[in-house]
């Protein structure tokens, strides 16, 4: 086959050019789509460069593009790489494809549809950093994703692309199975639960070796950067979550939350938009923040800009709450999940999250009084920042944002014992939690 094909410029810098549908529940499953073969990958994106011995040049590209991690924390990639490179030799490298966030499907999308971009980014990292161990970390239940990765690895091996040895490791899926310290802990001790890190993993991770853990979407963006075409201001993959399903699409920095919802609605008429705009969105994931639609619609999907307004893209989830649905009921169901999903290793999380869930159950069922509202504030203050990982912080962020976004509902629940909106179940079903 002729591999020396010039890629078409517009498509050569994007991961997706359409909206990808996934059912609402379970691991991501890109519906009626196929993985891009190695041949098509090379036709669209061209050859990647070899990065052995060229770390400074690749670091410069990461810095110039201001690429941040797409795992939820949005930490500058160049800074993380620099820490790993200066910490010592022969680092370990992990591609994090576990996608612990239940409503997110962007990582499943990129692994199932564009595996070669992820593997190109991983190879570029392994070559430039001279990695001694390269791992792809996946959820054991994500059978389609695992199949797509293995198929791509076999294609590349047959084409003799010269990739470093890569091992695929799977572990049972839970909310914290994609948490960075859980992965390092699992690959060191076999226990996939968060660990308290006196030093960051970049300095001392798997078996105390410098370790770079990078989300698979980040690696796909690095796969794009590791090519002759210049890329500035990288885009973001987001998952629009509706009762109709999950819709993964690519957002360019100037595009807004409203743009992404419109894109999803064009693919499938979303019930949350049927008679009126949505009431609110949950931005980020279960540990993200509720925003009223009026505040959310015009927000650009660019982390730097969002942070200036006190917001964050998180795991890229945009979950819709329609008018006439009780946001407190929805939040209560998520808070129960967060309590169930605690690793139960740290006191404030173990004891605090169930108490927060109880308080939200009271809020949702209109049994709330002023004393309980004070207890809610006190408990939020006692839980934040006091765990080994950021799971309790996410629960606190969610609860605090619900108190603000649904303040009118809280008032109605408290004073009149009933909701401004309909009674009944949460709009979007939340899975059961539990890590062990």
């Amino acid at each position: 086959m002729n591999l020396a094909v010039t890629p078409t410029s517009a498509k050569a810098t994007a991961i997706l050019n359409h909206v990808v549908y996934h059912p609402l529940h379970g691991p991501g499953l890109a519906w009626a789509e196929t993985a891009q073969t190695l041949q098509h990958h090379l036709a669209q994106y061209g050859q990647r460069e070899n990065w052995t011995g060229r770390l400074p040049a690749l670091l410069a590209r990461l810095a110039n593009s201001a690429l941040t991690g797409r795992g939820g924390a949005h930490f500058p990639a160049a800074r993380k790489w620099h820490a790993v490179a200066t910490a010592g030799s022969a680092p370990a490298l992990v591609a994090n494809g576990a996608e612990g966030e239940p409503w997110s499907a962007k990582d499943a999308t990129v692994l199932q549809l564009r595996p070669h971009l992820v593997l190109d980014g991983l190879a570029a990292a392994a070559e430039s950093l001279e990695a001694a161990d390269v791992v792809i970390w996946l959820a054991a239940e994500a059978t389609l994703t695992i199949h797509a990765v293995h198929t791509a690895l076999v294609e590349r091996s047959a084409a003799q692309l010269g990739d470093p040895p890569i091992r695929v490791v799977t572990a049972p899926h839970h909310y914290l199975s994609g948490e960075s310290s859980s992965i390092v802990n699992a690959l060191t001790t076999g226990v996939a639960l968060p660990a308290f890190q006196r030093q960051p993993a970049a300095i001392a991770g798997i078996h105390s070796r410098p370790t770079l853990v990078q989300n698979v979407e980040t690696l796909a963006r690095i796969g794009l950067l590791a090519r002759p075409a210049e890329i500035t201001a990288p885009a973001q993959l987001v998952t629009v979550v509706s009762q109709a399903g999950r819709f993964v699409t690519e957002a360019h920095p100037s595009q807004t939350i409203s743009d992404m919802v419109t894109a999803a609605n064009t693919k499938f008429a979303l019930p949350e938009l049927s008679h009126a705009p949505p009431q609110a969105v949950l931005l980020g994931g279960f540990g993200g923040a509720w925003l009223p639609w009026t505040e959310a619609a015009g927000l650009p999907l660019q982390e730097f800009t969002l942070r200036q307004g006190g917001h964050s893209l998180g795991a890229g989830v945009i979950a819709l709450l329609p008018q006439h649905s009780c946001g407190l009921r929805q939040t209560s169901s998520i808070m129960n999940f967060m309590a169930e999903s605690s690793a139960r290793q740290c006191g404030p999380c173990t004891f605090g999250l169930p108490q927060l869930a109880d308080l939200f159950d009271k809020l949702a069922s209109a049994r709330i009084n002023r004393r309980s509202l004070r207890k809610l504030d006190q408990t939020l203050a006692l839980v934040a920042g006091r765990g080994a990982c950021h799971h309790p912080d996410g629960a606190v962020r969610l609860a605090a944002s619900a108190s603000v976004a649904f303040a009118a509902d809280i008032d109605s629940h408290r004073r009149r014992g009933r909701c401004l909106n309909g009674p009944g179940r949460p709009w979007l079903a939340v899975p059961r939690g539990g890590v062990r």
Partner: protein, 80 residues
């Protein structure tokens, strides 16, 4: 007036807890009530402020509090 640049560099010392190792036993608060209080579940709330220009007495106080923990969950973080 002493020349600052010729004296010993400032050391900042802070007491920190490993929340996974901590079992909420509470010996720390019992030993150093000025530094540590316990929350409603029995887990430590540290003063939070680091001690600037930590001298021998300051470090001794922090070390005693850390040594009290049967789980060795407390440690002193130093920085310049």
């Amino acid at each position: 007036m002493t020349d600052q640049s010729s004296t010993t560099p400032t050391t900042r010392a802070r007491l920190r807890v490993d929340p996974i190792a901590c079992d909420g036993i509470g010996m720390c608060a019992h030993t150093a009530p000025g530094l540590i209080t316990l929350d409603r579940w029995g887990f430590p709330l540290l003063a939070g402020d680091s001690v600037e220009n930590a001298d021998g007495d300051d470090l001794r106080e922090l070390t005693t509090a850390a040594a009290a923990c049967p789980r060795r969950a407390l440690f002193i973080e130093r920085s310049r």
